[in-house]
């Protein structure tokens, strides 16, 4: 976030009366049309970021943070999210993008339903999942009881199970979006390549290995990095499912900020973000390089 405190360069007003006179109506209208965004940026991005960094200026906040076991646990959980959930999600998305481009009417219908988790708000569906997992009357444990006669686990009361389910919720919610992007990537590959490969007798795996993957590799990497950035900001999947519990063991960085805010320790909540910057900034830099061409 520190890089956001770049010197604000709103479209530079030409200096001096001569320059002003020389400005064409095209340039003038350009500045007028760009001005609202510049205002939004300064008032609602630059100022909050600067203010946040200022709140996080005391070294003692970081000391308190390092001493807080909840923080260390949240770092661990966030890393688990980034490494496990995202890679699983992107690999499944890559497979499903191949499935959804197969021309069948029923697959077209399925693709319409498939997008729903992404299109609808998080809160009703995550609450639905939460109820499903209720140990006493939830659907899942009722089914387990009916088929095996055994009591199912207390899903959300076990920190590792709960974190695992939070990852599944995250995947459930964002898988459709990434699948959609990868479908677009697959559709951009010329069909002749596959036809030529078929003539040469290539197997499905060979087609993937030598045509699909080389064409999709860059897109796949970009999506993975972007998904990492988004996932660090994913508050809902954890907060609405577990609220950070049991015993504050399932917090991630995204929910930790709100926890400290509730405890009236805003400096800690900002310090937790500043500590994450060395991990976030390279990802942001990578994405900037990639997209700002």
């Amino acid at each position: 976030m520190a890089t956001l405190a770049l010197p604000d360069e709103r479209p530079a007003q030409p200096t001096g009366p001569a320059a002003r006179k020389g400005m064409s109506p095209w340039q003038r209208w350009g500045l007028i049309l760009l001005a609202p965004y510049a205002l939004i940026f300064v008032i609602f991005v630059m100022y909050p970021v600067g203010y946040g960094l200022w709140l996080a200026r005391h070294p003692v906040s970081y000391q308190k943070l390092i001493d807080d076991p909840v923080f260390l646990r949240a770092v661990f959980n966030t890393l688990a999210f980034l490494i496990i959930a995202i890679n699983v999600k992107m690999m499944v998305a890559l497979v499903l993008s191949g499935f959804f481009i197969v021309a069948r009417p029923w697959i077209k219908w399925l693709s319409l339903l498939f997008i729903l988790p992404w299109a609808v708000p998080s809160i009703p569906t995550i609450l639905s999942i939460r109820f499903m997992l209720n140990p006493e009357w939830g659907l899942i444990n009722s089914l387990i009881f009916r088929f095996t006669g055994a009591d199912g686990p207390n899903w959300l009361n076990d920190p590792y199970l709960a974190l695992g389910i939070a990852m599944l919720v995250h995947i459930w919610k964002s898988l459709p979006f990434w699948t959609l992007i990868l479908i677009a990537g697959r559709l951009a590959i010329p069909a002749e390549h596959y036809e030529a490969a078929s003539v040469d007798g290539a197997t499905g795996w060979q087609k993937f290995r030598f045509i699909t993957w080389p064409a999709m590799r860059t897109l796949y990497l970009t999506c993975t990095i972007l998904s990492m950035i988004f996932t660090m900001g994913d508050f809902n999947s954890v907060y609405l499912l577990t609220g950070g519990g049991p015993a504050d063991l399932t917090h991630v960085l995204a929910t930790l900020g709100i926890r400290y805010l509730r405890l009236d320790e805003v400096d800690m909540s900002m310090a937790a973000i500043v500590i994450a910057l060395p991990a976030v900034l390279p990802l942001m830099y990578f994405m900037m390089k990639r997209l700002s061409k």
Binding site: V49, T125, S128, F131, W172, G233, S292
Partner: protein
């Protein structure tokens, strides 16, 4: 040959059926609660013995103390989503036109700053934004949420619109200039009509983002009369005696409008929002 065809179809089904169950189970469960009588909702049935619409009637009549402001909160969600969508659309269209067509000085920098904003994890900006809205004195005012949503939605919108508008031929602008068109005439008479599909995509994107938002909404708004339906659902949860079947019914009603909007504008959304991503 025929055998191979059967194998292919079987393989497709082997992926398709789990995908269907995985996708629909939480949504089906939501619906199941909504149509189940109170006593039956928690029985773990896959289908209620006596499906009923009673829960919907209770919600519509606001016949429970958690639901006193159901219609008002639905209205709040709508107002905030529409306002955020329209304002985002206006700001982003102007900016994209200025950067891409008018080649305004500083346009490249503005684009880069917008992209940088897009890459800030949303939850990281939430606490500073909350504190800032306090400083500006608009906390607990719906404008704070609208402006926060505009801030979050504009960067990607500008980027998508810029990608789309870079593809329009420059000869068009030149021809318009030769004919003596002013920048505004170019904008309204040439640019906007050509950009309509992307504008629909971006407007829908911002509208859905604002309607579905939970974190910022619950930070920035607190009064029962101001909050969105999403925040109201979260408050429901905080209580011990929550009527789960009504909570799920309300949740289903809250999820319907964005789904309907998505399907209505689907053909614009998919093309408009993924086109830029594939390029990289």
């Amino acid at each position: 040959m025929n055998m191979r065809k059967v194998t292919t179809e079987a393989k497709l089904l082997l992926i398709g059926i789990p995908v269907l169950i995985w996708t629909m189970l939480p949504i089906y469960h939501l619906l199941l609660f909504a149509i189940s009588p109170k006593e039956q909702a928690m029985g773990g049935h896959m289908w209620p013995d006596h499906p009923t619409l009673r829960n919907f009637a209770i919600v519509f009549r606001q016949d429970h103390h958690y639901l006193n402001f159901f219609w008002l909160q639905m209205w709040n969600s709508l107002v905030i989503a529409v306002a955020a969508g329209l304002i985002t659309l206006m700001i982003a269209t102007g900016a994209a036109f200025a950067i891409s067509r008018l080649k305004v000085k500083g346009g490249r920098l503005a684009m880069n700053l917008a992209l940088l904003t897009y890459f800030i994890p949303a939850a990281f900006l939430a606490v500073p934004m909350y504190k800032t809205m306090g400083v500006y004195g608009i906390l607990n005012n719906q404008w704070s949420l609208i402006l926060a949503m505009v801030t979050i939605a504009t960067p990607y919108s500008i980027w998508v619109l810029k990608q789309a508008s870079d593809k329009l031929p420059y000869e068009l602008d030149e021809a318009a200039r030769m004919d003596g068109a002013s920048p505004l005439q170019l904008f309204f008479l040439v640019y906007l009509p050509l950009m309509t599909p992307s504008l629909v995509a971006v407007g829908t994107y911002a509208l859905l983002l604002a309607w579905n938002e939970y974190l910022y909404a619950f930070l920035l708004l607190s009064s029962e009369r101001d909050i969105t339906l999403g925040v109201a659902l979260g408050n429901f949860l905080a209580a011990d005696d929550s009527p789960w079947e009504l909570l799920m019914t309300t949740g289903l009603l809250y999820a319907l409008p964005p789904a309907a909007i998505y399907y209505t504008f689907k053909r614009y959304m998919v093309g408009g929002l993924t086109a830029g991503a594939v390029k990289s």
